[in-house]
Every structure is written in structure tokens, then in C-alpha cells.
């Protein structure tokens, strides 16, 4: 069979072609039988809903990409559903439950971090050498240009509407560039 005479090689290749076709037919019948079962037992019931959801998603993205549509405003300076507006930095003042000092809401987290002696800044102050060798593995790297909070207690009295000297530290949370 392997001698390569023309007659035997063509029947050899015919045989392999037939073999291939049988395998292919068998695979096709497998898939057809499985799909038939799925359809007849009703296991594919959700297809209509799925297609509908996909269509709605596509429409939504098209409409969101359309600049003329009055979509959401990226900026925070909007009126909420109750008709209220709010400053960029929350200005409610309450007492810190750790030290008792009055703190402005929007500055509470950085204050509390130092107040409780937690966080990187607090730790760095105590272990300066280890801070250099420590590898950073934080996803939310704060904007590291913010000024030290040496005057954190005084900043609580910043009047409403102004952001004080440390305004830029909230930029990653306030709003992002579109």
C-alpha cells in the first residue's frame, strides 16, 4: 500500500477521504443530536431574552456615545433629586469620635488616619528607614503631592465653599477627566 504506484495511492487517498467524511458526518450528527435534545427539552428557553438584552445594551451604548443626548454629567456640580446642591468637599462638621475635635466631613478620613495613628503617613513618621525599603503594593495610590497635615486641626474651620490649601488631594475621588 505504501509503494506509491498510481493506482494504489489514489485508492489509498480515496479511502482516507472517505474516512474523513465519515468522521465529519459523525461529528455533525453529534452536534445536531445534542442541539435537537436541547431544543426539544426546552433547555434554551432564555435565548429570546438574551438577544433582547444584547440589543438594549447596544442601543444604550450608542445613545451614550452620542454627544447630543443629554446624558449624565460627569461633573459633580449638579442639583440632586431633592433639589439640593453640595460643595465639592463635604462641609458638615462633627466631632471626631477618637479625639473629640470638630472635623469637617470631607477632611475626616485624613484626620482620622493620623488621629488613630494608622496609615502610611503615620507609620512613615515613626519608621523612616523601613519606609524607604518597603515596596508599595497599593492600588489606590493617593496623590502624593498633598501637603503634610501639620495644620489639620485648623483646617477644620475652613469656611464653606473654599477648598483650602489641600484641595488637590481629592481630585482622584471628586471627578475624573472625561
Amino acid at each position: 500500500m505504501s509503494d506509491g504506484k498510481d493506482g494504489s495511492s489514489s485508492s489509498h487517498s480515496q479511502l482516507s477521504i472517505r474516512c474523513f467524511h465519515e468522521l465529519l458526518d459523525s461529528i455533525i450528527a453529534d452536534v445536531a443530536s445534542e442541539c435537537h435534545r436541547v431544543a426539544r427539552l426546552g433547555l434554551d428557553r432564555g435565548l429570546d431574552e438574551e438577544e433582547e438584552e444584547l440589543r438594549l445594551s447596544e442601543e444604550a451604548r450608542a445613545s451614550a456615545a452620542d454627544p447630543s443626548s443629554s446624558g449624565e454629567v460627569g461633573c459633580k456640580y449638579v442639583v440632586d433629586i431633592f433639589g439640593q446642591t453640595h460643595p465639592a468637599v463635604a462641609d458638615e462638621i462633627f466631632e471626631c469620635m477618637n479625639c473629640g475635635r470638630p472635623i469637617m466631613a470631607g477632611r475626616f478620613a485624613p484626620h482620622l488616619e493620623k488621629c488613630m495613628g494608622k496609615g502610611r503617613k503615620a507609620r512613615q513618621r515613626t519608621t523612616r528607614s523601613s519606609a524607604i525599603t518597603r515596596s508599595r503594593n497599593s492600588r489606590g495610590s493617593p496623590v502624593s503631592v498633598y501637603a503634610p497635615y501639620s495644620n489639620s486641626t485648623n483646617s477644620a474651620r475652613v469656611p464653606n465653599g473654599t477648598t483650602g490649601g489641600a484641595g488637590e488631594e481629592f481630585s482622584d475621588c471628586a471627578f475624573e477627566a472625561p
Partner: protein
């Protein structure tokens, strides 16, 4: 398979209930004595092939041939159930027509029933059961599902109830009605949360939890009373009712937050007390920097679990330990199958959420059914065909439950073969929680390259989701050729009728870059969508939500989801 004749009536979609039999199949079953008899002769001939496939052979070395065609070979052979004559599709109808009672045959390579008169594949539940049982794959569970959590939730018959005069008096004396907010079409419980300094990761998750139906109901019905809890804590610490600071209890702070948010106060609330408590609980996360919302979610559930009841044992999968687990806890099943002998090792693990990889390559969406409509001679393809490139939540779930071939460097020790063999691993959901939280893994950290990146790829997600295809029973069933058989996890009573249908109620989105981004939550209340952006609550259209970049998706079981209800006037 079949041309021309009208299709038979559709099945109910219940995987355990067969479609109505054709008259020939019904005839065959009634002629046989009893129900188990019809396929008894076949059971001896059923041979299991690689896991999930079965074939019919009278003896192991038999090579079936179509009588009339012989000696030419033919594919797709059917053995008559009455006389065992083997025919190909072209000769089978003649065999049936000539002999009444010989209409039903079986595909010898696929173990599927075929009606030669109807010329269609037909289905029978007893036959399927015989096929599954014949496979008899050896398997083991290293841990059977913890019995406590698989105990059916106690069902109480629904009885309508209205308060009697005594109850009315008690309610009247002990409460004061909340005035409906101006514009009384606004839902209750909507209140902005002040950003305390890079805390939008916390605010976004809190908004979702404040409106998680079973969690909201728990706290609003005073099931964790912060005053009683603190008092009990003081008593335990030794008698002095007004001494010392109050102990840290995240559930108490959450209770206070529910009271504040569901009051009639509309100015934004500052969750300062909560932040303070959380930082004491999760001191490793206590720092002023943007954090991961999902990490916070896990940490918070852990905090509630720990503080609510220290007495209840925290055994894995036991959902009775705290409200957090009762709401979010599910069970994942993991099957590792030896590719040589089919031996399957099964383990069960509890989970409070499902983290899904976002594929970054090409389509994760199956080409849906070929429902194309020919109009004016051109085929108008379904809109889905244009979406080949987008990722979908269902696609992620399909990938999550897909059999995965473990690499040759991860050979699994097969107890049957007693050597390490190449294996297949497949995940499925054994128990669906009341609320399913999906976490889309958009943040990739590579410790090798010391860098992280964010995957911005859009993910399509549905507003209604049926989780049945990803349940253990469905996955197992598909592994055995979708046979009608009660697999692990199948419960066929009405309490589970809609147990796998979920409705979306909250979406936590992330926008911006990895280290300079912003979290916003969309809430669905009374079928309207609201955007919760720290202190700002605004109304948005469905389109905005659908087009957003989902990071965490919260779905609740449909039976717990309150649709838009009529406005009830205060009495």
C-alpha cells in the same frame, strides 16, 4: 433531522419533565409490561464511553451494519427496539412501515431514541435514567455538602394578615409616621453619603448594601437593635452600665446608618462612625487612600459576621451564623475528573460572591440560535451577530463553569488509577445565595512586573438573569448529555420554581484610571434607576446604566424583589 411535519408541542423547560411522547413511543411504552420493562433489554447493551457518552452494543466487539445496505458501510445506525434489526436512516422507515410496533429504534452510537414513523428523535425519561445509571462512573466527594446549609429553607404557607386593634394601638403609641418627602413619588431610603476623603469606594458599596432587600428588611425590622446590642456588650464586660467606651460593632453602626438613611432627612449622611469602626476592624486597610470597593465589601461582611454573634459557630457553609452570610453565602462545587478513567473528585466551598475574569480577547458570546429572517431575499441577521466582540456576564459565567483542562504540570492524583493523571476541572454553583454579588476582575496586579493595570473593557449585563444553567444540577446534566435525570442539586418542588431567577438591583461602577478613579453606584428602585455619586443622588435613564462600566453587580432572587408597587396612602 426532520422536515415538513408540524413541530410537536414544546416542553415546559423543566429538565426533569419529558416532552409529550409521539403516539408511537406512547404505544411502545404501553405495550411493554410496566414502566421499567421497555428499556430493560437495552440496559444490558449500554456501554459507557468517555465520561458522559454512551453507546448500544450487544457485545463489546460488535460492529453494527445496516442490513439492506450491507456490505457497504453506512453512518448513523438505528437498532429497532422490537427486533434489534439495524438500519440506516434511509432503510429505517421501511422497516417500521412494514411492521407495526417496530417504530421505535435507538441510535447505536449516541444512545438516542428515534421514531422511524415520525422520522424524528424522541425522548423518554426512563430511557434517559437507564443511560445515566449504566454509566456508573466511580466518584467521590471528599466532603459532602454541609448538611446544615442544604437543609431546605423552612417554608411557611402564605397567609394574608392585617393588624388588629391591639396591634394598631401599639404601633400608634410607639412610633411616629414619616412625612412623605415633597414629591412623594421619590422612594424611601435614598440619601447621599458624604465623601470623607477618598471614601467613594466605601460609599458605593454602602449604597448597594443599604438597598439589598433582605439586608434592608433585617435592619429595618429591628433585628439588630444597636441599643440592646451595646447594652449587652457592656453587661458582658462587667456590670458597669455607663462605664467605658462602647465596643466596636459594625452591625450597630450599620443599624444607625439604616435609621439615618430611611428617615425623612434628605441632607447627605456622613458615615464617619462606620469608617472609624471599620478601620478598627480592618486595621491593615486603615489608611487614607483610595481602596478597592470589592476588598471593602469582603472586609465589611467579615466584620458583620464577626461581631453579630460570637457564639454561633462559624462552620463553612453554615449560613445561620449571621445575616451577612444568610444573605450572601452560596456554595460552589468543584469537580476534578481524571481524563483516563473518569473518576471524579468533588469538593464544596462556601463563597460570598463570585469573582469573574473579564476576557480580553475575542468573543465570549455564543452565536445564538439561527433565528435569521429572510426578508427581500437577504438575510437579516440578529443584532447579536454584531456583538461578536463584546464581553457579557453570561459569557463570563459560561467560562467560569466550563471544563478546564489542567496543565500537565498540574496532574491530579486519581484515587481510582492510583497515579497522577491529567484532569479536567469544572466549577458549578451548588447553592445560589439570596443575593449574588458578581465581582468583575478589572484590576490586574502583577507582582513579577511590579505593575498593575485596569481592564476597561465593556461588559454587557442583563437586568434579569437566570442562573439555572450554571447550577451544579445543570452542569452535571450537560456533562451526561443533558439526560432527564435528577442530578445533585435538583429539587423539583415549587419552592425552587423561580429560585434561579434573579433581578439586578445595584451596580457599582468604576471610571477612570487604576490609581485615580471614581466609584459610583446605580440603584434600581421601583423600576427607576438612581445614580448615587457620594452626596449627589440623581435620576438616570436605563441606558446610562446599561452603558456603564460595571465593577460589581448585585442580583437578588426574584421572589424577594419588589417591583414597582402602587402608592400606598398613609393611614
Amino acid at each position: 433531522m426532520k422536515l415538513g411535519s408540524p413541530p410537536p408541542p414544546m416542553s415546559s423547560g423543566d429538565p426533569l419533565r419529558p416532552p409529550p411522547p409521539c403516539p408511537h413511543l406512547a404505544g411502545y411504552r404501553s405495550n411493554a409490561h410496566g414502566l421499567s420493562k421497555p428499556f430493560r433489554s437495552l440496559q444490558r447493551c449500554l456501554r459507557a464511553r468517555p465520561p458522559g457518552r454512551a453507546e448500544i452494543r450487544r457485545d463489546p466487539h460488535e460492529i453494527p451494519r445496516c442490513g439492506p445496505c450491507s456490505p457497504s458501510p453506512s453512518s448513523r445506525l438505528y437498532a429497532c427496539l422490537a427486533c434489534a434489526a439495524v438500519s440506516c436512516p434511509s432503510h429505517a422507515p421501511a422497516h417500521a412501515a412494514a411492521r407495526p410496533g417496530h417504530e421505535i429504534a435507538v441510535d447505536v452510537d449516541r444512545a438516542e431514541l428515534f421514531c422511524c414513523a415520525c422520522r424524528d428523535q424522541v425522548y423518554d425519561r426512563d430511557f434517559d435514567a437507564a443511560v445515566v445509571l449504566a454509566q456508573n462512573i466511580p466518584s467521590s466527594s471528599s466532603a459532602s455538602p454541609p448538611s446544615g446549609c442544604l437543609r431546605k429553607r423552612r417554608r411557611v404557607d402564605y397567609r394574608p394578615w392585617t393588624p388588629g386593634p391591639v396591634e394598631r394601638a401599639v404601633v400608634g403609641k410607639g412610633s411616629s409616621p414619616l412625612p412623605f418627602p415633597g414629591g412623594s413619588e421619590l422612594p424611601q431610603g435614598l440619601r447621599g453619603l458624604n465623601n470623607l476623603g477618598n471614601t467613594c469606594f466605601m460609599n458605593s458599596v454602602l449604597q448597594a448594601l443599604l438597598h439589598t432587600p433582605p439586608l434592608r428588611n433585617y435592619f429595618l425590622s429591628d433585628r439588630h437593635n444597636r441599643y440592646v446590642c451595646q447594652q449587652n456588650g457592656r453587661k458582658k464586660r462587667g456590670g458597669n452600665a455607663d462605664g467605658g467606651e462602647s465596643r466596636v460593632c459594625l452591625a450597630c453602626d450599620l443599624d444607625a446608618m439604616y435609621s439615618a438613611v430611611f428617615s425623612d432627612e434628605r441632607l447627605p449622611y456622613s458615615p464617619a462612625r462606620f469608617l472609624y469602626s471599620w478601620w478598627q476592624h480592618a486595621s491593615n486597610l486603615a489608611s487614607y487612600e483610595q481602596q478597592d470597593a470589592h476588598e471593602f465589601f469582603i472586609s465589611m461582611l467579615d466584620g458583620i459576621h464577626e461581631k453579630v454573634d460570637e457564639h454561633k459557630p462559624a462552620s463553612p457553609g453554615n449560613e445561620e451564623c449571621c445575616i451577612a452570610h444568610r444573605v450572601f453565602s452560596g456554595i460552589l462545587r468543584s469537580d476534578v475528573t481524571c481524563t483516563i478513567c473518569g473518576f471524579t473528585s468533588t469538593t464544596y466551598d462556601p463563597c460570598v460572591d463570585i469573582s469573574l475574569d473579564l476576557d480580553s480577547n475575542h468573543s465570549s458570546i455564543k452565536v445564538a440560535s439561527s433565528k435569521s429572517h429572510a426578508s427581500n431575499g437577504e438575510t437579516q441577521s440578529i443584532s447579536g451577530s454584531q456583538n461578536f466582540d463584546i464581553s457579557t456576564l453570561r459569557g463570563c459565567l459560561e467560562r467560569f463553569t466550563r471544563p478546564e483542562r489542567l496543565g500537565s504540570d498540574q496532574k491530579f492524583f486519581c484515587q481510582h488509577c492510583q497515579v497522577r493523571q491529567e484532569s479536567l476541572k469544572q466549577m458549578s454553583i451548588r447553592k445560589l445565595p439570596l443575593v449574588t454579588c458578581f465581582h468583575i476582575k478589572r484590576f490586574e496586579h502583577s507582582s513579577i512586573r511590579k505593575m498593575s493595570r485596569k481592564v476597561d473593557r465593556y461588559l454587557q449585563f442583563p437586568f434579569s438573569l437566570d442562573m439555572a444553567p450554571y447550577s451544579s444540577s445543570s452542569i452535571l446534566r450537560s456533562r451526561f448529555g443533558n439526560r432527564m435525570f435528577a442530578f445533585d442539586g435538583d429539587e423539583s418542588d415549587e419552592s425552587t420554581e423561580f429560585a434561579s431567577e434573579f433581578e439586578l438591583f445595584a451596580v457599582v461602577t468604576h471610571s477612570g484610571k487604576l490609581d485615580a478613579g471614581h466609584y459610583v453606584t446605580f440603584l434600581r428602585l421601583n423600576n427607576l434607576w438612581y445614580k448615587c455619586d457620594d452626596a449627589w443622588i440623581t435620576h438616570v435613564s436605563e441606558n446610562i446604566v446599561r452603558a456603564s462600566q460595571a465593577y460589581m453587580l448585585f442580583y437578588v432572587q426574584k421572589k424577594l424583589y419588589y417591583k414597582a408597587s402602587e402608592h400606598v396612602a398613609p393611614s
